[in-house]
């Protein structure tokens, strides 16, 4: 966090409107020319439970949550269940204030709703305020809200107070409220806003603000987008008009966005009985000639294992998305982790051959989802977009031009009826759908209903016309052809795309390697380390299968040592690198985090100093260090 940033944390109860208020706040500041990045923390609860959203605001591009934050708006949990201290979950009502103090930086601001919260319930509150030089504003937001509207409008009052204290032009927020709110509630909300704003101006000395929100300007038009939005839009722009799914956090976001938008695009969404059916429906629709997808989170994806293998052996194009959360089993449903990596790479019986991308940003999520569709339909292979609750839910500003691309509804390697007339058939007239010797391993498919295209698709090993075969020669020919597609895709990725990113000075001595959603945070940590005088560069890997062996080898060869950063407990990603490269275990150590919260840049800075610079032990158990092989 720099001195010129506002990192605003709005905390309350689950169901208090924290998410929508913070989204509007972030969008308003984006419209004002600033760069924004949000981080959500929420419990797996229906109503109640402490939740917060952090909005990081800067004049310069931001790609991660910050280290700590400097402005707390504590609203109080209006759905709190048990106020007694001995309760399993503690006194929940006070949590929006008490739970957020540890990460508030020195000199930070606290605004709390004195209508709901009493800081005397927090041990040492006054001492901590003094020690950290926090500026505390106790404001009865509830009463302000009640006077002109309803209690729920205390969120608006809190935003107004934020503007008054951090010197944010009220019109920035009010014009967004006018766009976002229906007329009926707009008027009382604007009155609540003005009242709260004026009250702070009158009662507090805000001439010299404690925190000054930055001001800025964008080079081009921006949109506020989540990873889930970007995945859904990537699918739509590739002509995906069929989705099947079953609700599961956090994959539900992509499913919902698709389901709400597909009808107006003449598409079909099916909410079905379980994830086995969901994956099977996507296969059935794709087989019949629609561009189709499904997806889930860890538990549901487990159920998709068998259909996934069916898509591999029948060479049915299939796009799945997997939104990881902390496991095993139900784990922590609303908390991010990256520990489904091996599961997604290898699940289902037999030798897996599939494409797996793990995008690092919302823009990458859009591009890589599009590429996942292109590869799936051209090479008749499953493509999986692997992300997590962090990337799916966090909002950031992305140039609108990222999405200004032509749609592509091409079905890939499919023959028309005219082409089928020229294609090889067996003596009974069946189309040789699975020919042995084809260019790049791809044997073009026909679709049910086409004249001259009939064949049998089967999960058994099969001969060119599709019939079941256990002939050794045929088996080897078909396996080799299917596996060859992965090599061809690797070559295509090497030639065409730059999904993996390198950040920092090419000649740096030390490396940080990460994958997927941690990329932005690791890059920020590298910037901090380089400012401190170290020589560090970052490799963010998105192509998990087929693995970019050459690029990772080159990166590792170019540094003395590397720290692999991932949200797993068993260093799965480092294991993947060692497996794919056949070594380098003596050059890589690991920094792991699996406590439910994504890395902050400072976690990585500290881990790096411990690991590679022989610094002190890690300060606490938030992260875990695993040394190199042989140490």
């Amino acid at each position: 966090m720099t001195d010129h940033e506002l990192i605003w944390r709005i905390a309350g109860g689950s169901g208090d409107g924290i998410a929508s208020t913070s989204q509007n706040f972030a969008k308003a500041l984006m419209r004002a020319g600033l760069h924004v990045f949000t981080h959500r923390h929420y419990p797996s609860r229906i109503r109640g439970g402490h939740t917060y959203t952090e909005v990081r605001v800067s004049a310069d591009p931001v790609k991660s949550r910050g280290d700590g934050y400097n402005f707390l708006l504590a609203l109080g949990d209006s759905f709190a269940r048990n106020p007694s201290e001995g309760a399993y979950y503690g006194n929940e009502e006070i949590k929006p204030l008490s739970e957020n103090l540890d990460e508030l930086v020195e000199g930070g601001v606290i605004v709390y709703d004195s209508g709901l919260l009493d800081p005397s319930e927090i041990e040492d509150f006054d001492e901590r305020v003094e020690e950290n030089n926090w500026h505390v504003y106790d404001i009865d937001l509830r009463t302000i809200a009640r006077e002109h509207g309803r209690e729920v409008m205390r969120n608006t009052a809190g935003v107004a107070v934020t503007c008054a204290i951090a010197d944010i032009e009220p019109d920035v927020i009010k014009s967004l409220m006018s766009d976002a709110m229906p007329d009926k509630i707009l008027e009382p909300n604007l009155t609540v806003f003005d009242d709260a704003y004026e009250m702070v101006q009158e009662e507090f000395d805000v001439e010299a603000p404690d925190i000054q929100a930055p001001t800025g300007e964008h080079d081009e038009e921006q949109v506020l987008i989540s990873g889930s939005d970007a995945i859904a839009y990537g699918a739509i722009d590739e002509g995906c008009r069929f989705i099947a799914g079953y609700p599961m956090t956090p994959w539900t976001e992509v499913f919902t966005i698709m389901t709400q938008n597909l009808p107006e695009l003449g598409g079909i969404s099916e909410q079905v009985e379980d994830e086995i059916a969901a994956a099977a429906l996507a296969i059935g629709a794709s087989h019949a000639g629609a561009k189709a997808m499904s997806g889930s989170s860890g538990g549901g994806f487990s159920l998709m294992s068998e259909p996934l293998g069916l898509a591999e052996i029948t060479e049915t194009p299939l796009v799945l998305v997997e939104a990881m959360r902390a496991g095993p089993s139900t784990g922590m449903p609303t908390k991010p982790e990256q520990s489904d990596l091996e599961h997604v790479l290898y699940t289902s019986q037999g030798d897996s051959h599939r494409v797996v991308f793990a995008p690092g940003t919302a823009a990458e999520a859009y591009y890589q989802t599009r590429k996942a569709f292109k590869l799936a339909y051209e090479y008749q292979i499953p493509s999986i977009v692997l992300y997590d609750q962090k990337l799916g839910g966090e909002l950031s500003n992305v140039p609108a031009s990222v999405f200004d691309e032509e749609p592509n509804a091409d079905l890939g390697s499919v023959l028309t009826e005219a082409e089928l007339e020229e294609a090889p058939h067996d003596d009974s007239g069946k189309y040789q759908r699975f020919q042995h010797d084809t260019e790049h391993g791809v044997s073009p498919r026909s679709l049910p209903g086409q004249k001259g295209g009939r064949y049998l698709a089967t999960g058994n090993e099969h001969m060119p016309a599709g019939h079941i075969s256990e002939s050794p020669e045929n088996r080897v020919a078909q396996m080799n052809r299917r596996m060859q597609k992965v090599d061809t895709i690797r070559a295509e990725l090497n030639d065409d795309d730059e999904f993996n990113t390198v950040h920092g000075d090419e000649d740096a001595d030390l490396g940080l390697i990460t994958f997927g959603s941690q990329q932005g945070t690791v890059e920020e940590a590298a910037d901090v380390l380089n400012e401190k005088g170290h020589s560090v560069k970052v490799l963010g890997v998105s192509e998990m299968m087929p693995f970019p062996k050459q690029q990772v080898t080159d990166f590792l060869d170019s540094v003395d040592e590397a720290l692999v950063v991932e949200m797993t407990a068993s260093a799965q990603f480092r294991g993947l690198i060692q497996k794919e490269l056949g070594g380098y275990g003596d050059k890589m150590s690991s920094l792991l985090k699996y406590n439910g919260n994504p890395f902050e840049p400072l976690d990585i800075v500290e881990g790096f100093e411990t690991a590679l610079l022989e610094g002190e032990e890690l300060p606490d158990n938030r992260t875990k260090f695993v040394p190199k092989v042989g140490e």
Partner: protein
Amino acid sequence: MSAFSAIGEETEEDQNEFTPGLEPQPTWCPGCGDFGVLKALKGAAAELGLSPEEMMVTTGIGCSGKLNSYFNSYGFHTIHGRSLPIARAAKLANPGLTVVAAGGDGDGYGIGGNHFMHTARENHDITYIVFNNEIFGLTKGQTSPTSPMGHKSKTQPHGSAKTPLRPLSMSLNAGASYVARTAAVNPNQAKDIIVEAIQHDGFSHVDFLTQCPTWNKDARQYVPYIDINESEDYEFDKTNRSEASEMMFETENALHEGTVLTGRYYVDSDRPSYQQEKKRIGEMPEEPLAERYFDDSYEWERSFDNFLDKHK
């Protein structure tokens, strides 16, 4: 012009069209009831004037799963229990296809039971033929969901302690709009029922009794059989849900007492299919989705024009 010209194509009524000209020939055991299903399906398809390439037959795993190896059409031999979700989606993507799903009693009433229940509930416009031999045949004779109580097998050496599942009652309660039972030993009725099932606009469930002479030697050959719609001993209205329910209950009990009852049990011709319902609420396109990908004049929508404004 359709990219799928086999759909709706004029054809001559010739059931040999549905016999593959080459191998594979059926590998079912001599005397197996599965031959009866194959014959009835060929006869029904020919009678309906269907062409092989407008039909898609999906199957599960088991002896029954080989049906589409021996039936000349588009086929998808899927995985155990999953023929229905694949069939449903193909029909949604290209409603012009005639979609028939098939599998055994273990496949449909056991491992795939959840799909059976929900496909019936949703009333998808497909036909589902369950080869019911009251046994697991391909894996050599284990007790299945429809095996009678007390049935002994290598996996139930002391006889099954479980009452058999009631396939007809389950289908009705789940929401199927056409429910029938036929038997391999009754080829004319079987063909007629499959013709009706394919013609029916909604989910048609045919519980097809297929004797297994190899692994279920103790079981009936399902003869003699009685057609409840023809017999004067059984009076009920197949369009009346509660009368159908009673008739099914009686039929399921009778089977284990040695009386084989078959026929049409429930027919609801008024209920719209799922596809019709989905169109009614505006969640399914009027034109087949699969055709759109071949329409060069179609202007594909994109997120930049349709959705980005709300993010600005």
